[in-house]
Subunit: 417 residues, 2 copies
C-alpha cells in the first residue's frame, strides 16, 4: 500500500473494429493503454463502398480515435506506423524511430488488398479498402463522366463509360449495386448530353457464384437484382491484366475501360511477416485457442491478422470475428494481470448481409433469410446502430432518408485541387 | 418563323458566386449557356476557414455544379481550365485543347492568394482560399498536435504548438478565432499529456487595425474578443519570410513555428493578364460602367476579376459585389440579345460581418452595429440562408447546433492516406 508501482502497459496496434473494442474493454483496468495507428481515425469499413460511390462523405464513416477515448485518461493514442515487433524484448518499433515497450501486445493490424501477384492490377486498379482509396475511386468515376460529356469519338466515349468491378463477395456486389444507382439515378439527371445506354457496368467473379457464404436462393436473388440494375454479371471469369486503358480477361477477351475496381481479395498486412511465425496463404498468423502465437503468452493477434481454425476451417476476415476476439483477448489480459486462468475463443456467427442499393439487400441470420425491401431495412438499421459516433449516426441516417426520398446524392464533388 | 436559328451561346468562366448567379439569371432565356470551371463544384468560400479549422467537412460547403443546374437543359457544364481568351475570334481555349466559341462571355474567374512576391511564404505557408488548401491546413494543424504529443524536447514542442495567422481582414480574424476554439475547446480534451498553456496563437497584421472596413468601436471589440480567446494580436507587424520552421518578421524578430496560415491578400487570377487590358495592382481588369472591357461589348468581367470604381475607390473583392454585378451583366446580355439599351452598374453595400467563434461576431449593416452574441446569431442565420444547396443547409445547421451544445467537433480526421 502506498508503494509506487509501475503501471502495466498494453499496446494495441491498429484502431479497426478489433483494436477499438479491445481498448474499450480494457479501459477500466488499472493498465496504461497505447493505441498505435498510422491514421488518426477509426473507420467504419463496411460503408467504404458508399464513399467510393458518392453516397456518403468520408467524414460520415471516420471518427478520430482521440474523440472515442476522450474521457479515458489511461488510453493514449500514438499516430505512427509500427514497422517491427521485437518479441524478445517486448517492444514495438515505429517508422519514426520510436521504440515502445509493452507488457501485453494486441496485434489488430487488419488487412490490405491482395492482387495475387498481378502487378498491373496493383498499379492501375482502383480500390475501396482505405478512405483515401475510396475517395480516389469516387473522384475517378466522376471524372470519367466529365471526360465522356465532351468526347465526340464514340469508341473512346464507350471506354470512358465502361466500369468493371472485380470480385463477387459482399464488397464487389455492394459496390456494383451502388455504382449503378449513382449512375442511373443521379448522374443520368445531370449529364444532359450523354446517352446513358452507352454506360456499361460489369461485375466479374472468378468462381461460379456471388456471395459464396450465402444460401443458394439468396445467391440467385443477388444475381437477379444486379441484372435488374443493368449490371452484367460474369461468373467463372478471371482477370489477368489491366494497363489503365484495357482490361484483359483469361481466355483472351479484351475490355476497353479506364475503371477497374478491385474487390477480389485481401491479405493480412506486411508487418506480420516480421514475426517469423507460421502464416496461411493470406499471410495471417496461425494463433492458438487463446489467440496467442506459440510460446508468447503476452502477445495476442486478432481479426484479419489472425488465422483461427474452428470446425476445421479458418474464420472469415469480417468485423464480427475481430470484435468477438477482442472480447476474449481483453478478458485474457485481465486474467493474466490477476493470475487467473485463460479463456478459449469460440466464434458465434452473427449472420451475413449485403445491400445491392435502394430497397434491395440479402440477409441471412441463422435460419432467418430475407431478400428485397425487408432485408434492406434490416441492413440499414444494423449499420446505423453500429456506427460508432453518435453524430455520425444522425448525419448518415439523414443522408439515407434524403437519398431515399429524392433519389439524390450530394457527395459527388471531385476532391482534387 | 419555323426557321432553324443557331442558338446564342453564352460562356461563363468560373462557378463562384458571380458565375453561378449569372447562369441562374440567364437560365430562362433562349440562349445556350456553358459554365467552365476546373472544379466540378460551387464552393461557399466564406466558410472555407471552418473547413481549415475542422468545424465543417469539405462536402458541407461544396455542391456539384451539375446538381445546381440539373433541371436547366440549356446549361451545360464543362470541367476544364481556360488558359486563353481570343477576343478577336470570340472564343476561349482550354488546357485540354478545346476551343469554344461564344456570342457573349462572362469572366468570373475570381482570385487567388497574393504573396506580394515573397517566394518562401508562397512555398511554405498554408492557405484557406481553395477546398484543397483548407483540407491541407486542417490536416497540418492536427498533425502538429500528434507530433507534439510525443515530443519530449520542450523547444521543439513549443514550435510545433505555435500557430501564426497572417492578415487581419475577415478571413484572418475568423481563422484565428476558430483555430483558438478548435484548440482550447476540442483538442484540449483529447491530448491528455499535453500542457495547453504551451500553445501560442498569433494574429499578425501589417496595418494598425483589424477589420479595417469596420467602424472603430467594432475594430476594438474584435481585438478584445481575440485576446479573450488567448490570441496574441500583433498590429503594425510585417512578415518577411518563412522556411517551414521559422517565421521572420520585418525588424528581425524570429518566431519558431511550422504553421503560418496566409490570409493577407488576394489578387485576380493569371488568365486575366492574357487579355492585355488595363489592370490594377491586384491584377483586376479595369471595367467600364456596364462591366465591359473597353471596345468589347460582348465580354463582361465581374467579381474579384473586375476593378470597378465607385465613389472614387474600387469595390472590395467580396461575394455581394460579384452577385450584384452578375445581375446587371445578365440583364445587359438579355438587353443586347433584344436590341435594348444597357444598364449601368451601381453597387448597393450590404454591410460587413465577421465571426470570431462561439457567441462572438461583429456586424455592421448600414447604421446598424452589433457585437457579441446577437451579432453571432445574425451572422449564423445569414450564412445558413445563403448556403446554396438545401441539404447542405440542414447538415451545416445541425453541425452548428451540435457544436454549440457540446463544444464538440467531429471533423478533425486527417485525410491523408
Amino acid at each position: 500500500m502506498g508503494q509506487l508501482v509501475k503501471k502495466t502497459h498494453i499496446i494495441i496496434i491498429g484502431a479497426g473494429f478489433g483494436g477499438i473494442q479491445a481498448a474499450k474493454l480494457l479501459a477500466n483496468t488499472a493498465a496504461q493503454i497505447t493505441i498505435i495507428d498510422k491514421h488518426n481515425y477509426h473507420l467504419f469499413q463496411p460503408l467504404l463502398y458508399q464513399v467510393a460511390t458518392a453516397g456518403l462523405s468520408e467524414k460520415d464513416i471516420a471518427c478520430p480515435i482521440r474523440t472515442i477515448f476522450r474521457d479515458q485518461k489511461n488510453i493514449e493514442f500514438h499516430m505512427d506506423e509500427v514497422i517491427d515487433i521485437d518479441l524478445a524484448d517486448n517492444r514495438v518499433i515505429t517508422i519514426t524511430g520510436h521504440q515502445i515497450s509493452f507488457d501485453y501486445l494486441v496485434v489488430a493490424t487488419g488487412s490490405t488488398n491482395n492482387f495475387f501477384g498481378m502487378e498491373s492490377l496493383a498499379k492501375n486498379a482502383l480500390c475501396v479498402k482505405t478512405l483515401g482509396q475510396s475517395v480516389a475511386t469516387r473522384d475517378h468515376i466522376i471524372k470519367m463522366f466529365e471526360l465522356a460529356a465532351h468526347e465526340p469519338d464514340p469508341e473512346i466515349r464507350h471506354s470512358l463509360l465502361t466500369f468493371v468491378v472485380v470480385g463477387g463477395g459482399p464488397t464487389g456486389v455492394e459496390c456494383a449495386g451502388a455504382l449503378s444507382e449513382l449512375i442511373h439515378f443521379v448522374l443520368a439527371k445531370e449529364y444532359h448530353n450523354l446517352n446513358f445506354k452507352e454506360v456499361r457496368i460489369m461485375l466479374v467473379e472468378a468462381s461460379d457464384a456471388l456471395l459464396p457464404v450465402m444460401p443458394l436462393d439468396l445467391q440467385e436473388a443477388t444475381v437477379e437484382i444486379l441484372i435488374r440494375k443493368h449490371i452484367e454479371v460474369r461468373l467463372l471469369v478471371q482477370v489477368s491484366g489491366f494497363d489503365g486503358n484495357t482490361l484483359l480477361l483469361k481466355g483472351g477477351e479484351v475490355i476497353p475501360t479506364h475503371t477497374v475496381i478491385w474487390a477480389a481479395g485481401v491479405c493480412a498486412t506486411k508487418l506480420l511477416d516480421n514475426l517469423k511465425q507460421e502464416q496461411d496463404r493470406a499471410h495471417r498468423v496461425i494463433v492458438n485457442e487463446y489467440l496467442h502465437i506459440q510460446n508468447k503468452a503476452k502477445v495476442f493477434i486478432i481479426g484479419d491478422a489472425a488465422h483461427f481454425e474452428q470446425d476445421n476451417s479458418p474464420l472469415p476476415m469480417v468485423a464480427p470475428v475481430a470484435i468477438q476476439q477482442a472480447g476474449v483477448v481483453a478478458q485474457n489480459i485481465i486474467s493474466l494481470m490477476n493470475g487467473r486462468p485463460l479463456q478459449k475463443f469460440v466464434y458465434r456467427p452473427v449472420g451475413t448481409m449485403a445491400t445491392i442499393g435502394r430497397n434491395a439487400a440479402v440477409v441471412n441470420i441463422g435460419k432467418f433469410k430475407s431478400q428485397g425491401f425487408i432485408a434492406w431495412i434490416i441492413w440499414s438499421l444494423m449499420h446505423i446502430l453500429r456506427l460508432i459516433h453518435f453524430q455520425n449516426r444522425i448525419v448518415v441516417f439523414m443522408k439515407w432518408i434524403w437519398e431515399y426520398l429524392t433519389y439524390d446524392r450530394v457527395e459527388h464533388v471531385i476532391n482534387q485541387d
